[in-house]
């Protein structure tokens, strides 16, 4: 039931993102993140964090977006399971590029590119 609620917030968040409404998307993903942490579901927790990062990027808040994309990496480390990391590295690098920090962007792109070939 709470898992069901979580899934539905993630879905709403995605729809808001698709419909160019990143503010509302942010709130849906935030609720999803809280729920995922509550029921200790790391996979959905990552999806929510990624959604939060994407919502902030769309609003031009790249510094805050980095925090949430980095959260994906920490969850992976905590759980010893690296799904979503490739995308997180790429997204963090995109944010640093937007912020003009090409040095940091390059470091993250290197991590991203190194992971592109596997499955």
């Amino acid at each position: 039931p709470r898992k069901q609620e979580l899934i539905s917030h993630l879905k709403n968040g995605k729809n808001f993102l698709r419909n160019q409404n990143p503010e509302n998307a942010f709130f849906e993903f935030k609720t999803a993140l809280d729920l995922a942490q509550n029921i200790k579901d790391p996979i959905e927790e990552k999806k929510a964090a990624r959604g939060l990062g994407a919502s902030l990027q769309r609003q031009g808040k790249h510094r805050d977006a980095i925090k949430y994309h980095s959260m994906v990496l920490s969850i992976s480390e905590r759980e010893g399971e690296d799904s979503g990391n490739t995308e997180a590295y790429g997204a963090i690098a995109d944010c640093y590029t937007e912020l003009g920090d090409l040095e940091k962007a390059a470091t993250y792109y290197d991590q991203y590119i190194a992971r592109l070939q596997g499955d």
């Binding site: 590029t97 937007e98 792109y109 590119i113 592109l116 499955d119």
Partner: protein, 88 residues
Amino acid sequence: LETVPTIRKLRAYAEQIRTSDLEKCLAKMGDNVNNNTRKAVEVLSRGIVNKLLHGPLQHLRYDGSDDRTLDETLENMHALNRMFNLET
């Protein structure tokens, strides 16, 4: 470092194609597909894009250590900017 914006733009270009085609695909499949199928399709779209981008992106990164020269890296960048129309 000069190639970083090209990496950013090429990623965005590919991601737009991927999400747009993925949405069309999911719309065609309708509501009667399960999450497993949805996930497989998402993984498929990401896998194809990532593997196709791997070569070009790798050749945009110059680490000063291998036998690719900086000139070659910049030529790759110019070619990609032209071919994917990334300057605009």
